[in-house]
């Protein structure tokens, strides 16, 4: 099962007793403020989780896969995610347990 915004709202409601409105606004703001920082060109660091970094890409030649027509892919800035040590270790620990099970 994938974790969604609705699950995160539910979690704040259950665990912290925020009302549904407050919880929904908070989850929205959480992702919106991260998006805005990235839009401003700022890296976002969430300790214990990971960093959202930005990389600049130059224009490069591309092709429309359907028509085969050549169209340049414009210069752009892209978001990359680097998981932190703690998250990587937690994920690996789970994978280890999973293999043991099989």
């Amino acid at each position: 099962m994938a974790l969604t915004k609705a699950d995160m709202v539910e979690h704040l409601f259950d665990e912290l007793g925020l009302n549904k409105r407050e919880a929904k606004d908070l989850v929205e703001m959480f992702f919106e403020e991260i998006r805005q920082a990235l839009e401003r060109g700022e890296q976002v660091k969430l300790s214990g989780f990971g960093n959202f970094d930005l990389r600049e890409k130059r224009q490069r030649p591309g092709r429309n896969p359907k028509t085969g027509e050549e169209i340049p892919i414009s210069a752009r800035r892209v978001v990359t995610f680097r998981p932190g040590q703690k998250l990587k270790a937690r994920v690996e620990a789970y994978a280890g347990r999973d293999e043991f099970k099989n």
Partner: protein, 104 residues
């Protein structure tokens, strides 16, 4: 922007919740997301992106100090794929900043 700066921005942008509550809520959200990945679940946030686990197959690595080869087991690593809205907003803001730099 760090986690504490994010907490501060959110606390200032609304007036329902005290700083302390926003701090607790943000910490809970980050922990909930870590927990999802740590138990093998994906995270799907429309307009932001999705997190999933990618498998890295076993390989033979080397101890950089001694040069000895060591067998490294296969493992899972977290992966993030930015969503359409995030990709476009970051790209558009960047192109706009390039345009402004050229104009001045």
């Amino acid at each position: 922007m760090t986690k504490s700066e994010l907490i501060e921005v959110i606390a200032n942008a609304q007036n329902h919740l005290a700083y302390r509550d926003v701090e607790l809520a943000v910490k809970h959200l980050v922990e909930r997301m870590s927990q999802a990945l740590a138990s093998g679940d994906r995270i799907e946030i429309r307009g932001f992106g999705s997190f999933s686990l990618h498998y890295r197959p076993p390989r033979v690595g080397r101890n950089p100090k001694t040069g000895d080869s060591v067998t490294l087991e296969g493992k899972y690593v977290p992966h993030f794929k930015p969503g359409k809205e995030l990709r476009e907003r970051v790209k558009d803001a960047y192109l706009q900043s390039l345009g402004q730099a050229e104009a001045s």
